[in-house]
């Protein structure tokens, strides 16, 4: 029997071009005669724009044009595309260049078009803008208070929405009756997504055909086409969006930004191609930030450790404008996850979206779900402490028992499948949990502070059924489509609407097709990222490409296999019932010599010399796939840390991750997703965090100050797995792109607080920098030592 390609950790098919420098990302693409765009950006977080004098800039070498917000005739403002129902949502206008007022540092005020980047930046520096500075507000809870500076005239009290879909009275009753209630104010600090490739966009307009081509760093070129068409007024079939090689996104390349609209508009105005690429400093100012919640959280429990309810009031910072999907993040993707993997019967969430003078926020890896998992896991440790029970034991006591096909939870979701206890015990076994607790005690006797954190999680991904998308106000569908096209010589082109940008989908998706149809993986090309070449799709985010696009491809492949079987039977003059299939070859039962390979069949289908009655020629199938439910991967992560009480430094000694994403198509790629996600989540706990000053100036504006995780901060990770297929997915797979980020932040945070417990430290705002940890130790000791 041959080795099955599904489940094999084969080398990635995208790598040869990436390891040799031959891949072309947006900024690598050159067009003759291209102009470079530089953006004049507000240096103030909140300011009236009094006047703009571009005369000096216009006179400079190489400068072709300077435009301000008032010049952008025919360019509509950027839309918000997730309109949460029943939340009194306000969607303030978001012009591509600020008009009258700038609302965050980096808000675009004017653009300069010049012959090269250096000239464009020189001229942008020479544009003189007179501002009248206004008071600014950054903290979302402060911004929601009476008397806070008003950011948009049409957003009263800066409240963009209030979402509270659960029964408050029922929740209150649970809390009143509970033995134990623990409370904490949790700060989910702002994070900078920091895809290593900065954003870039280049537009070319052909006036003769009225066609616009936009190359841009996008996770969802079809959504970009939709929005660019809407803001420029061009017909959608005259807009082509190409996402070439894309260097990571983590959510930050989902939104359609002013910059992409501006290069498109400028290319249309000037009739020459226009390119813009952000610098990292610009990226930190203008590309969306993640998280930014102030949460007031309570958990109710019985004195023997049964969790009875969770409730939270969340102030979610939206920044100066509502980004494309922003309202959906702290609501649908957050509050619906308050049950986690536990038997919690009562949940309540009030999420208040607040305009601030920060950079707009939007989806960042995990998007709402890490913020939910963190609060659950933090509060469980608080409950454990309060009732004097081991935190692992509290979790064990509350885990939902194994289920194979559907489990309804109090937050309104139906989980697809799960066996949380098995993953949980496996992780505890790998960590040697009991033994560690003994070591911890003996270390404490020597004045060493070791700690352990355990997180059980489940998350909702593979977004999602379109009907649900509509019900929750998402202004799009959440299906995917794919075409499997076999050439006459038996080579495969798989065209997908999703747009992977580092996930390895060209490999995993090819493995699905290879497994279904018997083609060699090397004979399958997965084609994506071009709205003209590929069928419609909603994009790569929410850990959805493998589950949703993968399902579309599996089903298209299955349809082709059926056609091939019928044609093979016809060609071999056998009954279809007698046809057997193995490894890409059809044979007649009892006559093993008589075979037709899938390639033979493909050729005959193209030639169409001898087709069965009623069968159309060609060998190609398309499939739209709208999932019937989300998928719910799960697992347990454990961290072991040591805190240096002299300095507050944290050493991460071990990290164990047991994840279940259903059957793994390519275990190496799955592991890579977990490694990367885990580091991103740990970095939130330990070192990453945006800092603004009181005027809204970004103090973490470069990698000198914003702490990106580095290789020497981490041990090798210890990974384990369990396999629980999704019952509703054609090949059982779940997503895995966000699990690491979702699980790891509370895991490491709780480990550190566990280590600090003997010192009396109960809470520290993230990130847990050495200075904050040290200060917390001093404060707990009453300032002395």
């Amino acid at each position: 029997m041959s080795t099955r390609i599904f489940g094999s950790g084969i080398k990635r098919r995208e790598d040869p071009r990436l390891i040799t420098g031959e891949a072309r990302y947006t900024d690598d693409i050159k067009l003759p005669g291209v102009l470079h765009m530089a953006v004049v950006r507000s240096p103030y977080a909140h300011a009236n724009i009094v006047s703009i004098d571009s005369s000096a800039a216009e006179a400079m070498d190489g400068v072709v044009a300077v435009y301000t917000g008032d010049d952008l005739e025919g360019l509509a403002g950027l839309p918000t595309a997730w309109l949460i129902p029943d939340s009194d949502l306000k969607t303030p206008e978001h012009p591509a260049l600020a008009k009258g007022k700038a609302r965050y540092v980096g808000d675009g005020v004017a653009i300069v078009l010049a012959g090269d980047r250096y000239q464009a930046q020189d001229a942008a520096d020479a544009v003189v803008v007179e501002y009248e500075e206004l008071p600014a507000v950054i903290d979302p809870e402060e911004a929601a208070q009476e008397g806070a500076p008003l950011i948009h005239d049409d957003v009263e009290g800066n409240i963009a929405f209030k979402w509270a879909p659960f029964d408050k009275e029922a929740s209150d009753a649970v809390f009143e009756a509970a033995d134990v209630v623990v409370s904490e104010r949790i700060l989910q600090q702002r994070l900078l997504p920091t895809a290593m490739e900065p954003r870039s966009a280049m537009a070319q307009y052909n006036p003769a055909t009225a066609e616009l081509t936009l190359w841009c760093t996008s996770q969802n070129p079809h959504i970009h086409r939709f929005i660019i068409s809407a803001v420029t007024g061009l017909n959608e079939n005259k807009v082509r969006v190409i996402a070439p090689e894309v260097g990571g996104g983590f959510g930050s390349k989902i939104p359609c930004y002013p910059d992409e609209a501006l290069v498109s508009w400028a290319a249309m105005q000037l009739g020459v191609p226009v390119k813009w690429t952000e610098t990292r400093s610009e990226n930190y100012l203008i590309t969306i930030h993640g998280r930014d919640h102030v949460q007031h959280v309570d958990m109710a429990a019985s004195s023997d450790g049964k969790i009875l309810g969770v409730r939270a009031t969340v102030y979610a910072g939206m920044g100066g404008y509502l980004s494309t999907a922003a309202p959906g993040i702290p609501t649908i993707l957050h509050g619906l996850l308050y049950v986690g993997p536990y038997t919690i019967d009562s949940v309540y969430c009030e999420s208040i979206g607040v305009m601030t003078n920060g950079t707009p926020t939007d989806a960042y890896r995990g998007a709402g779900r890490p913020e939910a998992t963190f609060l659950l896991e933090r509060m469980i440790d608080n409950v454990a402490k309060k009732i004097g029970m081991d935190p692992a034991e509290v979790r064990r006591k509350n885990l939902i028992p194994a289920f194979e096909d559907g489990y309804d939870v109090a937050a309104g979701l139906t989980y697809d499948s799960g066996d949380y206890p098995v993953a949980f015990e496996k992780a505890l076994g790998m960590a040697g949990y009991g033994e560690f607790r003994r070591q911890q005690k003996s270390a404490a006797a020597q004045g060493r502070y070791l700690g352990i954190g355990v997180t059980a999680y489940t998350e909702m991904c593979g977004l999602g059924p379109s009907q649900v998308a509509g019900a929750v106000g998402f202004q799009g569908g959440l299906w995917e489509s794919a075409t499997v096209r076999v050439t006459p010589t038996g080579k495969v082109q798989a065209l997908i609407g999703a747009s992977p940008h580092g996930q390895g989908s060209e490999t995993t998706l090819a493995q699905i097709i290879a497994d279904e149809l018997g083609f060699a993986v090397d004979d399958i090309e997965v084609i994506h990222g071009d709205t003209t070449e590929t069928p419609m799709g909603w994009g790569t985010y929410g850990s959805r490409t493998t589950p949703v696009t993968g399902a579309a491809l599996a089903k298209a492949s299955q349809k082709l296999k059926e056609k091939a079987k019928t044609l093979a039977a016809h060609l071999m003059e056998a009954s279809e019932d007698d046809i057997e299939y193995a490894d890409g070859s059809f044979s007649v039962k009892g006559s093993p010599d008589q075979t037709q390979s899938i390639q033979d069949v493909a050729l005959m289908a193209h030639l169409a010399w001898n087709m069965p009655e009623g069968m159309d020629p060609g060998f190609e199938e398309s499939q739209f796939y709208d999932p019937p439910n989300f998928v719910f991967p799960f697992g347990t992560h454990i961290a072991i840390v040591e805190v240096d009480s002299e300095t507050g430094e944290i050493e991460l000694q071990r990290y164990i991750a047991v994840d279940d994403c259903g059957p793994q198509i390519n275990p190496e790629i799955v592991a890579g997703q977990i490694h990367g996600g885990v580091v991103q989540g740990i970095a939130q706990a330990l070192c990453e965090g945006v800092i603004y000053d009181e005027n809204g100036q970004l103090l973490t504006g470069t990698m000198m100050d914003y702490c990106m995780p580095k290789a020497d901060m981490f041990p090798n990770f210890e990974l384990g797995e369990t396999v629980t297929p999704s019952p509703h997915h054609p090949v059982g797979v779940k997503g895995v792109g966000e699990t690491g980020t979702i699980a790891s932040t509370p895991t490491v945070y709780n480990a550190v607080l566990d280590a600090l417990a003997p010192l009396g430290v109960e809470q520290i705002d993230m990130p847990l920098t050495s200075a904050k940890v040290w200060q917390a130790i001093q404060d707990a000791n009453g300032g002395g030592s």
């Binding site: 040799t20 990292r280 940008h501 580092g502 977990i674 990367g676 981490f714």
Partner: protein, 155 residues
């Protein structure tokens, strides 16, 4: 100003504005776009090349400073059409995802292992402080570099 810079074995003579950074010279003048730009502050290492065999962040050197020097970029690392062992190791060990940091990672790691065959995992992790990756969590990058370091020590 007139410069002559040898890149991947070929001498390129150009008249450049003195403020041209070497990375822009490579990317814009020579269209060698394998070398990337990921930050403004010499932190991320996406622009790493080798200059006269030494690891360099090409965003932190003027092209005029490289006049007369020999530069190797990711496009010039393979020899006789064969991947450099570090390229092979990154591929075999899944040491990359989006690929953007990869050219710099490979250029830096190749020089490191050349100078430090048999390097330990800890030394590799410490050395990589000058190269930032957002996708891989470094786990498989370290594995790839270790594989080459071990092979170099055994040879």
């Amino acid at each position: 100003m007139q410069v002559a810079i040898t890149v991947n074995g070929v001498v390129h003579e150009r008249d450049v504005d003195p403020r041209t950074l070497l990375v822009h010279f490579l990317r814009e003048e020579l269209d060698l776009t394998g070398t990337k730009i990921g930050c403004d502050t010499s932190q991320c290492g996406a622009c790493t090349v080798q200059l006269d065999g030494k690891v360099l962040k090409s965003c932190t050197l003027l092209a005029v400073q490289a006049d007369g020097a020999e530069v190797t970029t990711i496009e010039g690392l393979a020899e006789n059409g064969e991947h450099h062992p570090m390229q092979t190791a990154f591929w075999e060990n899944h040491g990359l995802q989006c690929g953007y940091c990869t050219p710099g990672m490979i250029m830096a790691s190749a020089a490191f292992v050349r100078d430090n065959p048999g390097a330990s995992e800890g030394e590799i992790r410490h050395y990589l402080e000058g190269n930032i990756c957002r996708c891989t969590g470094y786990h498989n990058i370290v594995k790839a570099v270790k594989q080459v370091a071990d092979a170099a020590a055994g040879a």
